[in-house]
């Protein structure tokens, strides 16, 4: 190739990769570096140009500790329920069902709804006075009085997780369904000939066959759930108290409501480090494959 300058063929890949790398640096690298630099700036202008006080203040902030714990509970229960329901639905949809494409489409619908829209819809569903959920449960006699789904301290976080289960399971289902379709039929047939039960087929054929897909789904789902913002903000804004406050809503609040850019950036950097650790198995697995 002659572009006025001669590039050896073995170096041509650099030319093709360069625009993508530049774009990544621009849209990911620049904000990340800006956040990092904000996080080590003092909140008050003073003699020191750089400081770790925003990070040490995190340790003293009681709301941050509770928010971190809420995030851990939210992510653990959301991801666990996504995996269980996602796998169950994927296995059903992998069977020879009539109108299979239609069922797959229906199962995917919650994933198509934007986060904030889902939050607003479910906030109405949970409304103690007009909400469809209370109305339904009252009619079938399951409850005798209105349940305060988003105001009861024992229910608020679980109500949000319930909605997040509905909202997020299709993604896991989609990945696991692809994995199920890639498991060779002969493995099931051979095991069945050897007298394996359905449970044994599931444990010794399906799960090992899905291992890589499970790691991918787990890693991506954890990353997305740590970042989940619109759903919670639309439903509870972190309340009652700070029972449903998670790191993403707390960061947003510090940044855009309190204008504490430096402190908010420190929280964002902590989230980034946590997510990096969570992503390691996924990155390791991808590099092993390559």
């Amino acid at each position: 190739m002659d572009l006025g300058i001669r590039i050896k063929d073995r170096h041509m890949w650099m030319v093709f990769v360069l625009p993508g790398v530049l774009l990544l640096v621009l849209v990911l690298g620049f904000p990340a570096i800006t956040s990092l630099s904000y996080s080590i700036k003092p909140e008050k202008a003073g003699p020191s140009s750089y400081t770790l006080s925003n990070y040490t203040n995190l340790l003293k902030d009681p709301f941050f500790g509770k928010t971190f714990w809420n995030t851990a509970v939210f992510v653990f229960l959301s991801v666990a329920s996504h995996m269980i329901l996602g796998l169950a639905v994927a296995m059903v949809l992998n069977r020879a069902l009539p109108a299979k494409p239609l069922f797959r489409l229906i199962a995917l619908l919650p994933w198509v709804v934007p986060d904030v829209v889902a939050g607003i819809i479910w906030k109405w569903m949970f409304n103690p006075l007009y909400g469809a959920l209370n109305d339904l449960l009252l009619k079938i006699g399951f409850i005798s009085t209105q349940v305060e789904w988003l105001s009861n301290p024992k229910l608020a976080l679980f109500s949000v997780i319930l909605v997040n289960l509905w909202r997020g399971f299709p993604f896991v289902m989609l990945i696991l369904l692809a994995g199920l379709q890639a498991i060779p039929r002969y493995l099931y047939e051979a095991a069945a000939i050897d007298g394996a039960s359905k449970w044994q087929l599931f444990i010794h054929v399906t799960i090992p066959g899905l291992r890589k897909m499970i790691v991918v789904a787990l890693a991506l789902d954890i990353v997305w759930e740590v970042r989940r913002f619109g759903l919670i903000q639309a439903m509870t804004q972190g309340g009652p108290g700070i029972l449903t406050e998670v790191l993403s809503t707390y960061t947003y609040k510090q940044y855009f409501q309190f204008f504490r850019f430096e402190y908010a950036s420190a929280i964002a950097m902590v989230m980034t480090v946590v997510l990096l650790f969570v992503s390691l198995p996924y990155i390791w697995m991808i590099s092993q494959e390559e």
Partner: protein, 430 residues
Amino acid sequence: MKKIEIIGICAVVVLTVCSFTSAQAAQVTLRFSDWHLTEDVWNKSLNEGMDIFHKRYPNIKVTLEPVSYGEKETKYTVESAAGRAPDVFHVHAFSLPMFFGKGYAKDLSPFIEKEGPGFLDAWYPLPIELMKHNGKMHAMPGDYMTMVLFYNTEMFKAAGLDPNKPPKTWDEFLDYAKKLTRDTNGDGKIDQWGFGTLGAKSPGFSLRFGPFIWSFGADYLTPDMKRSALDSAEAKEAFAFFVELYTKHKVVPPGLTAMGAQDVRTQLAQKKVAMILGSGWTPPIVNKINPDLKAFEVLKAAPAPVKRKQATAIWLSSWVMSPNTKHPNESWTLMKFITSKEIELKWFVDNRVTSSRKDVSGVAPEILNDKFASVLASQLPYGKVEPQIKQWPEIMDTFNTSLQEAVVGMKKPEKALAEAHERINAILAR
């Protein structure tokens, strides 16, 4: 055709094209952003206002940028940080210290000086003071309204209460609220409540809590705004009174901590609650939610009830010019237009919001003869504004968090308030 004629025609064409392009080049486009653009009634009104502006100033074109009420600070912060904020935008007055602190509001004093002495005399002194940063005007005041009690006269009659005698004290208010909390269909379950109010973490919460805390004789902060004043006996009394409306007297519908302003207005529109605290925007929005209610006929307004002194919260909005605007003179022309006497009166007629101009709210027959606006205007002398300090949103969020914890029974009111007091002191000491 003779040569001279051809030259003449060519000259006319060239001159026409040149004059057209120079007029085009002289036209300036301004970006104008307001959360009201997302509200039906206001949107129509603002568009009509801009039509008038375009006719008067054909060289200025204004493009409208809607933003949701909850997202406006986010949008303007991000855009200001990037140097791309709208030329003119609308925010709460209590957001101003944060915009001032970050340098996101242009100094308007050169423009105001050019208008001549006495230009600002048309406005009430309080809103003018709140627009100043380091003694210089950095914003222009907009809507200026007091929070008052709105009640449904038909529900009053059905509960055996005289609709011409609204509650005057908070004790009387509680008595009324209990009578208005009823089982209207005889199924043994309460389906109508006396009072609807916000409990969600929303900017509107402080407007609804102000009439309680200030009327009880308490305040959030000490006069120098250096410490929390929530440890006073009056503050504890006001806090407990509000919490017990929900926990003890049960005159507020379930789900308080998730209820935002629109949820509460919907409760009033659907006759689920008989009284709410609101302002000029309340009747048109309630009417829009449920036209069958006939809000303008059925609703009445009264001053907020009193405990120790007459006091209520003031809603004040402000117009800000971006320091990054490329057209400051045209932006000022637009700001002057939207805050002019004529247009402020239009905002009232269309949207029922009273003005921060005393030559509008204090004298306009349209306001003084209006059954809602006259009550709002009568309360302006008793109005208080929230502390104009940059920590205010964080302080209010902390207070709201503690109130929610008390409302849902996680903590006793005294403990929740004591924690809020400590945390607010920590915020102020930072």
